[in-house]
């Protein structure tokens, strides 16, 4: 694939990707993974996903950069990443402008009426998933739909969770500092 193809491909994926990067994985799996002429082997793809999940930053960007590099080197990874982020700003700005324009309309009022409480439910669900991943040692739910993966509880991670909860709720602690402290403690304590 050329950098331009990769760019267009990732523009398409980002336009189809509702609700975060994890939705990308089944999309890519259906499009790019398999025997020739598809560009990625199943093993190669699962390696890309596992590296993307243990490195920081948005999973979607990690996957775009990796797939782009494998297909067309540095220009490919640049093309794929630019494609992945191209629509973010225009779509968000367009959405905010439309919401302002029809502020009192039934669709906009209804949209906020539904999405405000849903944001609360979704963000607490995200917190629970991070808790499962770290303290209980589980899997992201849509990778393990049956919920059968073996859990491996870490009491050190539970302690770090509790300490972070108190610090974040009661103080204005610098987040960077908190995460660096957690990482340092985890390197020794969480196995």
């Amino acid at each position: 694939m050329t950098p331009l193809t990769l760019f267009l491909l990732f523009v398409k994926y980002s336009a189809l990707c509702f609700g975060g990067g994890y939705v990308l994985i089944p999309l890519l799996n259906a499009d790019l993974v398999g025997g020739p002429p598809r560009p990625l082997s199943p093993e190669g793809f699962s390696r890309i996903i596992s590296i993307s999940q243990v490195t920081p930053g948005p999973v979607f960007i990690n996957v775009a950069t990796f797939v782009g590099y494998q297909q067309a080197g540095v220009p490919g990874s640049f093309g794929a990443t630019c494609g992945a982020v191209l629509l973010s700003a225009p779509l968000v700005i367009l959405a905010v402008k439309l919401l302002r324009k029809y502020e009192s309309g039934v669709v906009v009022q209804g949209f906020f009426r539904g999405m405000r409480p849903a944001s609360f439910g979704l963000i607490l669900a995200a917190a629970w998933i991070f808790f499962e991943l770290s303290v209980l040692g589980g899997q992201v739910p849509w990778h393990d739909p049956a919920g059968t993966a073996k859990m491996n509880v870490s009491f050190a991670a539970a302690g770090i969770f509790a300490a972070a909860l108190v610090l974040l709720a009661k103080t204005k602690i610098n987040l960077t500092l908190l995460l660096i402290l957690a990482a340092a403690a985890g390197a020794f304590l969480c196995r």
Binding site: M115, V135, G186
Partner: protein, 209 residues
């Protein structure tokens, strides 16, 4: 219950005193730090951004963050980049949006590029036991941060008689039934519009006895 869209004239936000280039650098750097340290993608980065821009810098109000969450989750694309675009755009228009998105993208782009271009020792580094332990601890701290963010937004988000029901259904569908988030977003938007339409029909009926 309306959402405030415009800045209050007498109460200009703290960043308006800064020149544009300083705002851009500040946005880029704030997002660069967040994206370099936060594992777990969209929601974690969203919560980190709220902490940085509301709690610490006081550049945004809770109302704007509530609007941001509703919009950035509904628009397709990477949640992390959508929130960066929203925050950057409010602070310094297109240039601000570009600075924040660039900051959110750079760390992962550079790390993955190094790994993919043959520095496999970096992949081994991220897979080693101490680094995995460090990431596990960081994820635990992020779970706490996302939970605190959620609870702080409860009063602004869960409103009206149907609010707690929608919130609870979304939470349980994802954590217990393991439904993928986009379905719950569609459910919330549709039921919100239905409730709002019913409320308006009822009000019109009451006005015409």
């Amino acid at each position: 219950m309306g959402v405030t869209f415009f800045m209050n004239g007498e109460n200009l936000p703290a960043y308006s005193r800064l020149p544009a280039w300083k705002r851009d650098v500040s946005l880029f750097w704030a997002y660069f730090k967040i994206a370099a340290l936060v594992v777990g993608g969209g929601y974690a980065i969203l919560a980190a951004a709220r902490r940085e821009f509301v709690t610490r810098k006081e550049w945004f109000t809770e109302d704007e963050i509530v609007e941001m969450m509703a919009v950035t989750q509904t628009v397709p694309g990477i949640i992390a980049c959508n929130t960066a675009a929203y925050i950057g755009w409010k602070i310094d228009g297109f240039r601000g949006a570009a600075s924040a998105v660039l900051g959110a993208v750079c760390p992962s782009f550079l790390i993955i590029l190094l790994i993919a271009s043959g520095m496999t020792f970096l992949a081994d580094f991220f897979a080693s036991a101490p680094v995995r332990g460090a990431f596990r601890a960081v994820t635990a701290a992020i779970a706490a941060m996302v939970a605190v963010t959620g609870m702080k937004m409860r009063k602004k988000t869960v409103t009206g008689p149907e609010g707690p029901v929608i919130a609870l259904v979304c939470f349980l569908a994802i954590t217990v039934l393991r439904v993928s988030p986009p379905y719950m977003i569609a459910f919330a938007v549709i039921s919100g519009i239905v409730f709002e339409a019913c409320r308006r029909v009822k009000r019109i009926r009451e006005e015409k006895p």
